[in-house]
């Protein structure tokens, strides 16, 4: 097995992809974001409920996708519960820099999400890793209601 593969598909990542945490519909979600990666057909449906001060009180997702997108979504949900919007956005930024290779040392705040660092060697898989994060970014911006996002930023809905 190549070291790149071992690094990309670490045991924790495979575990989250096989048994995603917080997988399911979130009852009385304040925001529901449908995310889609048109390049591969992967999709996520992310429900978020906010508590006092706009903190992420609960977060769940459904959808289908590759091991990377599923593990990224699963790890993200475990990490974001209880976080303030500012903290969540900071985590978005730091995670993005990690998988795109813009930072070399993975900040401790990411916890197990640091294991996704292997994605940087597979540029065509960055969108898989970012799908759930694009969805939470949208959820934080709108804080109520339902919407749709895409990993293709130049995507124009017909």
């Amino acid at each position: 097995m190549s070291p790149e593969l071992e690094e990309l598909y670490q045991e924790v990542i495979l575990d989250h992809s096989r048994r995603p945490r917080n997988f399911g519909d979130l009852a009385d979600a304040a925001v529901l974001v449908h995310g889609d990666n048109p390049a591969c057909g992967d999709e996520i449906h992310l429900g978020v409920r906010f508590g006092e001060g706009g903190n992420v009180q609960d977060i769940k997702f459904t959808g289908r996708g590759c091991a990377i997108s599923q593990a990224s979504a699963s790890l993200m949900t475990t990490k974001l519960k209880g976080k303030s919007p500012a903290e969540a956005m900071e985590m978005f930024r730091v995670f993005h820099d990690l998988v795109t290779g813009e930072t070399d040392d993975a900040p401790r705040m990411l916890g197990d999400l640091r294991l996704m660092q292997g994605v940087r060697k597979f540029p065509q898989r960055v969108k898989c890793a970012m799908l759930a994060w694009r969805a939470i970014e949208q959820a934080l911006q709108q804080s109520a209601g339902e919407s749709t996002i895409s990993t293709e930023t130049d995507f124009v809905a017909p």
């Binding site: 097995m1 190549s2 790149e4 593969l5 990309l8 598909y9 495979l14 390049a39 591969c40 057909g41 992967d42 999709e43 289908r64 996708g65 590759c66 091991a67 990377i68 597979f122 898989r125 898989c128």
Partner: protein
């Protein structure tokens, strides 16, 4: 090692003609199973391109000097070569384009713009590549025409029993693929053209996946228009052609305006050349056309029947071996398929599988293959596709099976 009973082709020697097949990928010998996306190029095609630029390069149809004569002769000889390869009546029935996509867009825009009215019907199938779907959607939007689709059955073949209700006199054009790029289905072109003719509809065949893989004779098939790309049949990228029966091409107005396609120009208006030059505005892809002719020379030296037999053997062997794997679903017909196999595995998503395989030197494609409606039809986001050409071997398929077995162990 395998043999094709009825041909004396030395398939292993053929691999020597493709320098790229000696490449390594991630430290492994390259196994190239993505020829449905683009094929590799034999040395004679690479040599033809170099020879053109070293000895003949000039603009065509306009220079009065020696090099321009050579370039023009080589370019027009290539058109002749394509015509005889397809069984066209004359070289004037061949329009050089950038490829299948541009050929279809030419028909949709120039022919469609002149002949299609609101409530006319364009008949397509559910298995069309986006390149034979989106141009018609654009035309329908512009004109108010309707699109109809021949459904695909679970076994990957067209539901031909539904044709009578779909192929009605309102249908002006029936455009369909010869070989599905996701399912491998080979459609009965001659039968479909015959049925279309009986209601007065024109036919356009998307031959992207077939033109380099099996014998094609447009007059035997009875099609009116046929589109293909050079790069999937050993030729360079950026060159392809539209075949159109002479009377049909002559009825189509110009498409792109510019030099090369005019007879005379005043400030107010222009007179246009006849087909095919009417459709080739600007300096064409001269080197590409010459490279395409070299690709045809190469393919014809092997023989298209021998290639088809070899490809069919590889595809059949791949289906047989793939179905040994646990949790495997192979798409498309069991038999009579083109040189490709699309599949999904319970244990791994196509993207994970393709990444895994790539790290072992095996190049396949994972995703929707520009077939989103078809993927939806089968309830899938995408598939993994292994596609073959005459330079592939059963030994490579055996290696693919080993790699997929390792992937099952890895991901489950």
């Amino acid at each position: 090692m395998h043999r094709v009973a009825s041909s004396a082709v030395d398939w292993n020697a053929i691999r020597e003609d493709f320098p790229i097949l000696r490449e390594q990928a991630h430290g492994h010998p390259l196994i190239y199973f993505d020829s449905a996306a683009t094929s590799q190029k034999p040395r004679n095609v690479l040599d033809a391109l170099r020879n053109y630029y070293e000895h003949e390069n000039a603009n065509v149809h306009r220079g009065l000097h020696e090099l321009s004569s050579r370039a023009t002769a080589a370019y027009e000889k290539s058109r002749q070569r394509v015509a005889s390869y397809l069984g066209a009546a004359t070289a004037d029935e061949i329009v050089f384009t950038r490829g299948t996509t541009e050929s279809i867009n030419l028909v949709a825009q120039a022919w469609g713009g002149k002949f299609i009215r609101a409530r006319d019907v364009i008949l397509l199938t559910e298995m069309e590549h986006h390149s034979n779907l989106v141009p018609w959607q654009l035309l329908a939007e512009r004109t108010g025409a309707q699109l109809r689709f021949v459904p695909v059955r679970d076994d990957g073949t067209l539901a031909l029993d539904q044709l009578p209700s779909l192929l009605t006199p309102e249908v002006k054009l029936f455009a369909f693929t010869h070989i599905s790029n996701s399912l491998g289905t080979i459609n009965p072109v001659a039968e479909l053209c015959d049925k279309a003719r009986s209601v007065g509809a024109l036919t356009l065949v998307d031959a992207a996946q077939s033109v380099g893989h099996l014998p094609i004779d447009v007059r035997e098939l009875g099609c009116d228009l046929l589109a293909f790309s050079g790069h999937k049949m050993c030729g360079p990228t950026g060159i392809g052609a539209l075949y159109g029966r002479a009377d049909i091409l002559d009825s189509i107005p110009p498409w792109h305006g510019g030099g090369e396609m005019i007879v005379s120009v005043t400030l107010e208006k222009s007179a246009f050349k006849k087909a095919p030059h009417r459709f080739e505005a600007g300096t064409p892809n001269i080197a590409g056309a010459i490279g395409l002719a070299a690709a045809i020379d190469y393919i014809e030296r092997i023989g298209r029947s021998a290639i088809f037999e070899h490809d069919a053997h590889l595809a059949g062997y791949a289906v047989e071996r793939l179905t040994e794997l646990p949790g495997m679903r192979v798409l498309g017909p069991r038999e009579d398929r083109g040189a490709l196999v699309g599949f999904v595995m319970e244990t791994a998503h196509p993207h994970d599988l393709t990444t895994f395989a790539d790290q072992h030197g095996l190049a396949m494609r994972g995703g929707h293959h520009c077939n989103q409606p078809l993927m939806r039809r089968f309830g899938l986001a995408g598939t993994t596709r292994a596609s073959f050409y005459f330079y592939n071997t059963t030994a490579e398929i055996d290696r693919m099976i080993e790699i997929l077995r390792a992937a099952v162990r890895f991901f489950s």
